[in-house]
Symmetry: C2
């Protein structure tokens, strides 16, 4: 693993653990056993690092979408859930939720990347829901886009809320979404 990709990985974790405005280059330097200034060799500014983190997430998203393109709608949806299952196991939150909370403090380039990422996610889940509806396996009481938004918001905010309410509600919510969706 190159130092550059390690910095991206730790930066990503810090954003989803403490938030973009609360982590510092020192946090990363400490974790890697190098000095503060060395981070600036790989990323001139904090904004540049933030953009690299989102580029990495976007690439991972596209890879996940591509890998499941032949799957059935329900299995595609489970691929989507797998993102949040992993985050939940880490005790962290979704990067979209984290950065959305800081939106009005973000550099315009970073904010643009974030919007791109959120819209790509919404597009993907909307397509899954639409395909499931057309194949007769999903039951809808709204447009595919609205249903997709409801599923995404359930996942995104569950990670934030269950850190506060302490229960193991995350898994039952996931199951209830599927139960309500099945035709």
């Amino acid at each position: 693993m190159s130092t550059r990709s390690e910095i991206i990985r730790i930066g990503d974790e810090l954003i989803r653990d403490k938030g973009y405005n609360a982590f510092s280059f020192y946090d990363i330097a400490k974790a890697l056993g190098i000095k503060n200034a060395s981070i600036h060799y790989h990323f001139p500014t904090k904004v540049a690092l933030g953009i690299a983190v989102l580029d990495e997430q976007m690439a991972a998203l596209e890879a996940l979408i591509e890998k499941g393109v032949q799957k059935e709608p329900l299995d595609k949806l489970k691929d989507f859930f797998s993102i949040y299952i992993k985050i939940e196991a880490e005790g962290k939150i979704c990067i979209v939720g984290s950065l959305a909370s800081d939106l009005h403090t973000l550099d315009v380039l970073l904010a643009a990347k974030l919007k791109e990422f959120a819209n790509r996610t919404l597009e993907w889940v909307t397509d899954i829901v639409k395909e499931g509806h057309e194949k007769g396996v999903f039951r809808l009481s709204s447009t595919p886009r609205d249903k997709a938004l409801m599923i995404i918001t359930n996942m995104l905010a569950s990670l934030q809320l269950t850190r506060l309410t302490g229960g193991q509600d995350f898994n039952t919510i996931k199951d209830t979404i599927i139960k309500e969706l099945k035709a």
Copy 2:
């Protein structure tokens, strides 16, 4: 309006606009036309201000609950929605969602208040859903607690997501929740 309550009001707005770690006492001082140090007369620390903001929100929540205690479940739910309708009109986000993103950077006292507030909200909505189910007006495919969590997460994260996806999806989501709930 006393200076103290003005500080709380602006602090609340700043948390839901920029996030707890991104706003400063100077932001408040500037908005009120006073100096930085004057804020410290009313609130010795930033944590003390944060706690006062949550205390105010908690009092408002209890007042809203109390005011609707005689209402029908659907109208109680609409009272809950009214919180988010107001926030959406301001272009801001839910304070629980904002602070939850910063949870691991918050003072323990502030974090405790936040958990208290989130649990009280969950308790309220759970009771609404349960009452609606018992009266036969709400249809459930999960426990009242799970359904309440799904409704809350829909609202909370809608405010974060629609800042990114730009649509007017917030209102249709609200309507879809009610449509799916009606027996």
